[in-house]
Subunit: 401 residues, 2 copies
């Protein structure tokens, strides 16, 4: 990885086009001797692998399991250890909330407090989503602003909600109020830096009012906040890489992550087929396409090996549409692994294939973890995918005299 | 490699167990077409490699030959460029000296000085060890303390000894007094930082008295000091990794290195068989076992290819005992290579095999340097072995939201 200053000095605007196809959580572990990728019938991806140079990537570092934030930032060419995306921000992006630079957001839980002020259930018995909507409406109607700061409350599922504070000079560097264990009182709102003192007071005032409003609403008679955060200041992809990038994704969180690095979000439908139609329709307007397939990860998280295989096969059937557009560079990979065996994100490296007429070939003939691990690119950090894609699109000048 | 702060925030205590089997200096170079590992008959290690994911590691960086200090620190998950273990400390650990935090230790040589005060033999003609013992006793009887600082002198072999100063507020950042060349006077005791001035004076007083005492003892009429140092401040493995680690080793230096990172040292015998018995006897009490095999390195240093092969085969016969205990994760590797051809530590990467039910397999079928170099883990830094072992024992949480 070279510094952003160096990359910025080397990138040039050219007409060549790059397509980055991300099968979220695609890497797996063997079940009955085969991983999901090994079990899937993927003639088009295998053919592409045959014409490409392949490798495996670590999103953060060997052994480290990445969340979606670091998993995506690294693929987009940003050091995932430098830019931290707080849980509040990620949850807000996940429900499609648009975030301004100074907005402070938190992940909220409805919870149950006893008469001594101790938390007896951090999730208020996982109240139904309808009850959650009702309580969020109640809070929103009663609390619209605090000391000139606008307050917005948006329900998630069950006991979860997102809380946003919008106003000038806010600073999200505050500790969680969620004590993480039952039998404890909520933690006070504590600023991590002096600059966050005013924001701490506003959040504290919000909590006091919320507690008054919810007092008689057992089990959900209080709220706990976690991951209080602001969007990090990230230079855009157009600024750093001189790209005009577009995002094609079906889930809000990934559109949100793409927004953070300055991609334009394209309208698309719910289905994988819709995403490839959107690609075709918008192909002329951009030179970088991030196409995100969510369901490989979803079925991995569900532990549904067979459905994950089916999604991989469904994507495979659309590869000819992608190639027919004639992109100069095609990369196919995952942001992290989600083996059905583990039902969770994992630390295992991501298979990566890079097609360009300006890349060497290797003898990898299929898009699987083991085959890519033997590929010509070897094992490398995902943050280096972007320089590789840019280079093989002839968008990077020589470094040094 | 991620920072210690990140690793510390991700590790969790779980019941799963990790065994790290280190064949010191196991990597080699071909003699008559085969390395020691290739020549050895190792059915059990090969079978384990077949069920594992394999790779090769660099202890420090490609091309860099590590000493035992950096070789071990990196395997234990510590940046070997951040924590320096001085030669004095390593020698002290090597003779089984227990070191306190403020102790300052140095490697000493008996040497010969002429009438002009120039060193004419830096090793005093390699005096016999018996003479060395006699001189160390003499010095120790005459010099027990200086300005309240306790002085301890322990002989090594031939002209070598270890010198320890114990007292409050000592600082070991002093330059060597050994001029490294004959025909020069000993260098004065020079502090590298102002905080070490008092310690410099104490060492200087020691040298004045030693010179008086030894004046008429040709050829050993003076002493030279090298590698004056203190143990580095290293967070323990329990603190960083939340492990309860144990060390099974036969040589003092390795027990000493393990002590530096907070391992409990288990009693064991002289033989390889004894080490596996100690493992079995203590298996319930710990969740991390470092098992050190010394003789692969010793015979490598001797240039004894055949004996090194025999030691590898001997270790192989004990592998079933290790596996029968059912550890969740087994790693087998070396801390550096010691090819018999070179009779010395070398820069060649270490073969590494990682067994866990949560790791992918590759098509490596034997524990050799060349086979592991084609393995699914590729080539990586040894400092990342620990995150990989922790991850595949499910002891690491996700990084980032």
């Amino acid at each position: 990885m070279v510094s952003e200053e160096i990359i910025r000095s080397l990138t040039v605007k050219t007409p060549s086009k790059i397509a980055l196809l991300v099968l979220d959580g695609v890497g797996g572990l063997p079940v009955d001797g085969k991983t999901e990728l090994e079990a899937a019938h993927t003639p088009h991806l295998d053919e592409l692998a045959s014409r490409s140079i392949c490798g495996v990537t670590d999103a953060v570092s060997p052994g480290i399991t990445p969340g979606s934030g670091p998993g995506h930032l690294s693929m987009f060419g940003y050091d995932p250890l430098r830019y931290e995306i707080g849980r509040g921000v990620l949850e807000a992006l996940g429900i499609g909330m648009e975030l301004g630079k100074e907005d402070v957001v938190a992940r909220g839980n409805f919870a149950t407090m006893d008469k001594q002020g101790l938390i007896v259930d951090r999730r208020a018995g996982r109240i139904p989503t309808e009850k959650n909507i009702e309580l969020c409406d109640l809070l929103q109607n009663e609390i619209k602003e605090i000391e000139g700061v606008r307050v917005e409350i948006r329900n998630g599922k069950e006991h979860r909600f997102v809380l946003r504070f919008s106003g000038e000079g806010l600073d999200g560097r505050l500790q969680d109020t969620d004590p993480q264990r039952e039998g404890q009182p909520p933690r006070p709102v504590t600023p991590i830096v002096p600059e966050a003192q005013r924001t701490a007071r506003i959040v504290e005032l919000f909590l006091e009012r919320a507690n008054q409003i919810l007092r008689d609403h057992r089990p959900a008679n209080t709220v706990l906040l976690r991951g209080i955060s602001q969007i990090p200041e990230i230079p855009s992809m157009s600024e750093l890489f001189k790209l005009t990038p577009a995002c094609i994704a079906t889930y809000p969180m990934y559109k949100g992550l793409a927004t953070l690095v300055g991609m334009e979000i394209l309208t698309t439908g719910e289905e994988i087929a819709d995403e490839f139609i959107s690609l075709k329709e918008n192909y002329d307007r951009f030179d970088f396409f991030y196409i995100h397939i969510k369901k490989t990860d979803s079925y991995g998280e569900d532990g549904d090996f067979q459905r994950k295989v089916q999604i991989i096969e469904e994507v495979d059937r659309h590869i000819p549409e992608l190639l027919a557009l004639g992109p100069d560079v095609v990369a196919v990979t995952g942001d992290h692994s989600t083996p059905s065996l583990l039902k969770a994100h994992s630390w295992h490296p991501n298979p990566f294939i890079l097609y360009s007429r300006y890349e060497r070939a290797d003898d990898v003939r299929e898009f699987t973890e083991a085959a890519c691990a033997r590929g010509g690119l070897g094992r490398f950090l995902a943050v280096d995918e972007m320089p590789l894609m840019l280079a093989s699109a002839l968008k990077l000048k020589k470094f040094g005299a």
